[in-house]
């Protein structure tokens, strides 16, 4: 179905139906085939009837969310996904999907909440720290950027200093904080060491992997420091 060979898919499903007449999985496949054909209403009906028999099937709930998303109906997709997550709170993929939908709609506060849930349940996955830091930075404001810096730092900690995005993130945060607190006479709590360490690590990384771009990196970092 991914390759749009819908006839082949239909034949396969027929064979499966003969073999397993009352199977839930075949029912789901039929629903997915209807989705692939673009027959959203029929697919929705198929899933609803399957859900009546199996109200706690996570895959069916998620297919319904997928229908809403494919039609471009984001508010419905968000509503369904939130309902789903009230029951199945441990489904990390669903939290990630919800966060991505929020980011694409620029609802960053809600996306931040999703990532917070993910970090709470899986604190050792650097991906979530990085994504959370990105969303915080995008939200803006000194407090958020300070927090973002901490999460970039924790990402670097978790990945042993190899995550380029996080290193760049630290440099960006430091320059953004410097810009935002320019007028205020706050005592300099933030040590400049973190930024210079991050910059040095980036330069080392580039030297190893892309020496041709090293000059570009150094000039970009310079413009960040001065801006």
């Amino acid at each position: 179905m991914d390759c749009q060979c819908l006839d082949v898919a239909k034949d396969c499903i027929k064979v499966l139906q003969k073999q397993f007449p009352e199977s839930k999985r075949v029912g789901r496949l039929e629903g997915i085939l209807l989705e692939a054909k673009g027959l959203w209403a029929e697919a929705e009906k198929a899933y609803s009837s399957l859900l009546e028999d199996n109200p706690l099937d996570p895959v069916l709930h998620k297919r319904r969310v997928a229908i809403a998303k494919a039609q471009g109906n984001f508010p419905t997709a968000i509503e369904w996904l939130n309902k789903y997550l009230e029951t199945f709170m441990a489904d990390h993929d669903a939290w990630r999907e919800l966060a991505e939908i929020y980011v694409s709609l620029q609802m960053y506060k809600q996306a931040a909440f999703c990532y917070e849930e993910l970090i709470l349940s899986q604190p050792t996955v650097p991906l979530y720290h990085l994504a959370y830091a990105d969303v915080l930075y995008t939200l803006g404001g000194v407090d958020n950027i300070l927090l973002a810096k901490k999460y970039y730092a924790s990402t670097i900690d978790l990945t042993g200093g190899k995550n380029t995005k996080a290193l760049f993130g630290i440099c960006l945060c430091s320059s953004a904080i410097a810009q935002l607190t320019k007028g205020r006479n706050k005592e300099d709590k933030e040590s400049p060491e973190l930024q210079s360490l991050a910059a040095a690590a980036l330069e080392k990384d580039y030297k190893q992997r892309a020496p041709a771009k090293l000059l570009l990196l150094t000039s970009a970092l310079k413009s960040l420091k001065t801006s």
Partner: protein, 165 residues
Amino acid sequence: MGELKYELSQNAYIKLVLHARKHKTAAVNGVLLGRVSPQNDAVVEIADSVPLFHSHLGLLPNLEISLIMIEEHYSAQGLGIVGYFHANERFDDLELDSIAKNIGNHICRYFPQCAVLLLDNKKLEALPKGKDRSPVMQVSAVFVCIELSNYGVSVSFLAIKRFWL
């Protein structure tokens, strides 16, 4: 405001289309680089393009770093950021979403004749089915050009230089 023409070079076009084709299930975006034509003020030459992301298009840090580095790199060649390219996730979605509009507006502040190109997925779908191999190809306008009403610029004509399939 007068009419503006944009000339899209083959290189730029190919890079963007290939990037979109590679990530069929995601929204992609990219930056257009070029300059105002030295011969004619009303023509903007889009000489090159840089595909940017295929996930999390709405997040700021990556965008900032990439724009800084792109500007640095291309200013050495005399090119600046002249536009933004976007391709939507869904097949029949022909609307420019808020992220694309925001980025477009931002580029406009620095370059008033900025162009925002939105990929028409349906035409992209039809692209490989054309079996004609003749060198002088009929220009198939795969992009739908969006008018940037903020600055009253209307794009009258999109020419694709030396286009081939």
